[in-house]
């Protein structure tokens, strides 16, 4: 962005608040967050089970419950994801942003660089965004779209192994995903590894959301609760379409 543009922008004052996240997006976000938490915790305990329960097998169903919670959360996450895709078509243009990354737009890439510098303390001030900042969009798109797709596909492939040949889960997922990775164990390993990648993302996501809430020029955490983006200054925004 040229300096000239910036001065021009300064002439126009932004709205004090914009309605960004519609209710369906907000509900999805929090349900998704809950699902991921449940999936990570139960997933970890499927890989490394809790200490043995003494007594009769029929008195307990601990692994059964852990796995049930994992599968239930997995289904909710998958259905939620489909619903989120649907809302990308039905909702406002912010609802589409997560799915559409302007990778051919040089200015957008400059925005990515600018945000990266902001986090590296190399620039004094971040840009001001109504939607996601470019760096956030890049990360969220990779993790929440492709990461989720990967986990849904590998997850259903593993689930289909239990429901067995002839089940739709097996036919749609396991039958081709298992051989694609080599064998079942490889799918388990990848599913497990990507879980950790998502955990890393969540650490950053939560931290950055709070930090942005404090240090950037727009609201963050509250926006995902109320839907309204508020701003700390009234200079022009940088991502006006």
């Amino acid at each position: 962005m040229s300096t000239g543009q910036q001065t021009e922008h300064e002439l126009y004052r932004s709205e004090p608040a914009v309605y960004v996240y519609e209710a369906p997006v907000r509900i999805w976000h929090w349900v998704n967050a809950l699902c991921i938490t449940v999936l990570c915790v139960t997933g970890y305990f499927i890989g490394s089970p809790l200490p043995t329960m003494p007594g009769e097998a029929s008195d307990h169903f601990l692994m059964g419950y852990i796995r049930f919670a994992h599968f239930a959360a997995g289904y909710v996450l998958a259905i939620g994801f489909l619903y989120r895709i649907l809302w990308a078509f039905l909702g406002n243009h912010h609802a589409r942003q997560l799915f559409v990354v302007p990778i051919t737009n040089l200015n957008w890439w400059k925005g990515v660089m600018h945000e990266a510098k902001w986090y590296a303390f190399l620039t004094k001030e971040p840009h001001k965004y109504v939607g996601h900042n470019p760096l956030a969009l890049l990360f969220m798109h990779v993790m929440l779209v492709w990461g989720t797709v990967f986990m849904i596909f590998t997850g259903f492939a593993l689930y289909g192994e239990g429901t067995g040949m002839g089940s739709w889960q097996f036919e749609w997922f396991s039958s081709w995903i298992i051989p694609l990775f080599g064998q079942s164990q490889d799918v388990h390993t990848w599913h497990h590894l990507i879980m950790w990648v998502i955990i890393c993302f969540i650490i950053m996501h939560v931290y950055v959301a709070i930090r942005e809430d404090i240090m950037s020029r727009q609201s963050m955490v509250s926006t995902m609760i109320s839907g309204w983006r508020t701003f700390k200054d009234n200079r022009a925004v940088d991502d006006e379409d």
Binding site: M53, A57, L62, G162, K232
Partner: protein, 363 residues
């Protein structure tokens, strides 16, 4: 005079009446009407035993050893009455050029009509001369015999996937059959070795129904490889209950709890061990107290220790698995985040000190 399927059945004490019943059952199973029953009966009365050439590449002969352990049908009945095992260098009487001549005779007499059974696999390094048959690479014998066969049975994990000699770094470049033979139907019967009764069942299925068994995407017969060991394991209730063996010979091991924590590969292994079991249904590895090592899965040698739940990821060092890699990454991210928080706080404090109210000034 050539002995037919019918004569074989009669000799084994089966009456004409039950033979005809068998033919009509076969007709029904094949989806054919009653008019076909006499035709099937006629074919069975005149059909010679199907010839099999059983070749051995780089292998350990465990597949042959398993085959002769079959209880139903008995190996002797398969060899004497069901098929014509014309070449199998582990049991054949002839040796040297008399043995080699049999391959040529079979190709000539039964071109396109014999079954090629392969145990082991061809190595490609050293010009293929790490497995020499008749002074030539085994690969020559394999491709020659495969060219004229009707179908190929890849016995065991060697022929199906490569098995132990193909484990990293695969010094001989041992290569599974389907990677060198491309134009023939191949049935993979993996396992190290496969269960005896599974092997004979695949053969008798082909003989009885005169067709290949239905295969899954990886070319394995669905009738034996469509479920994991875990799905039908008798210790499964202990898995669901969260009851695990924690150390060898502990109380849980004596009670027959689940071996999941001891690295059992039952949850990722497709085979019939927990249903058909081994050696006439006597037992199977988990019942005998050791976890499954996953011997019927592709590349099972390189998926980490038999005793580790999580697969090794050698790219991250010899002791790495998904949890170790992931937890390390999460720790790095967490530490970086903490550092960033501190840096941000310092920066913010410095900005506030240097230019108090500078942002407000704009408003």
């Amino acid at each position: 005079m050539t002995e037919t399927f019918y004569e074989v059945m009669r000799r084994q004490g089966i009456t004409r009446r039950s033979f005809m019943k068998y033919c009509s059952l076969t007709a029904t199973a094949l989806g054919l009407g009653p008019a076909f029953v006499p035709k099937i009966a006629h074919a069975m009365e005149t059909k010679p035993r199907i010839p099999i050439l059983w070749l051995h590449g780089l292998e350990c002969t465990c597949c042959s050893e398993s085959f002769i352990r079959s209880a139903h049908p008995l190996a002797k009945d398969v060899i004497l009455s069901m098929v014509s095992l014309d070449y199998d260098d582990t049991i054949m009487a002839a040796a040297g050029h008399q043995a080699e001549a049999i391959i040529e005779e079979t190709i000539e007499k039964y071109n396109g009509n014999y079954i090629l059974a392969v145990e082991g696999n061809p190595p490609l390094n050293q010009d293929g001369m790490s497995c020499i048959i008749g002074g030539k690479p085994f690969l020559d014998q394999l491709t020659h015999a495969a060219e004229h066969c009707k179908a190929i049975i890849s016995w065991g994990s060697c022929a199906s996937y490569g098995c132990v000699q193909a484990a990293a770094p695969n010094p001989t470049q041992a290569t599974p059959v389907h990677k060198v033979i491309h134009n023939k139907p191949i049935i993979k019967v993996p396992g190290c070795p496969p269960i005896a009764e599974v092997m004979t069942a695949v053969v008798t299925y082909i003989l009885t129904f005169e067709r290949m068994p239905e295969l899954d995407r990886q070319g394995r017969p669905k009738m034996f490889y469509s479920q994991r060991i875990h799905d039908k394991c008798y210790r499964r209730p202990h898995f669901d209950a969260g009851q695990f063996v924690e150390s060898w010979d502990d109380e849980a091991a004596r009670k027959g709890y689940c071996l999941y924590k001891m690295g059992c590969k039952g949850p990722t292994t497709y085979n019939a061990c927990s249903t058909i079991r081994w050696n006439e249904g006597t037992s199977f590895p988990i019942q005998a107290g050791h976890g499954c090592i996953g011997c019927s899965e592709d590349g099972f040698w390189d998926k980490g220790s038999w005793y580790a739940r999580l697969t090794d990821i050698p790219q991250f060092g010899v002791e790495a698995n998904a949890d170790k890699v992931g937890a390390t990454a999460a720790a790095v991210v967490g530490t970086a985040t903490a550092a960033h928080i501190a840096a941000s706080a310092v920066k913010r404090a410095m900005q506030k000190d240097a230019q108090p109210g500078s942002q407000k000034g704009d408003e």
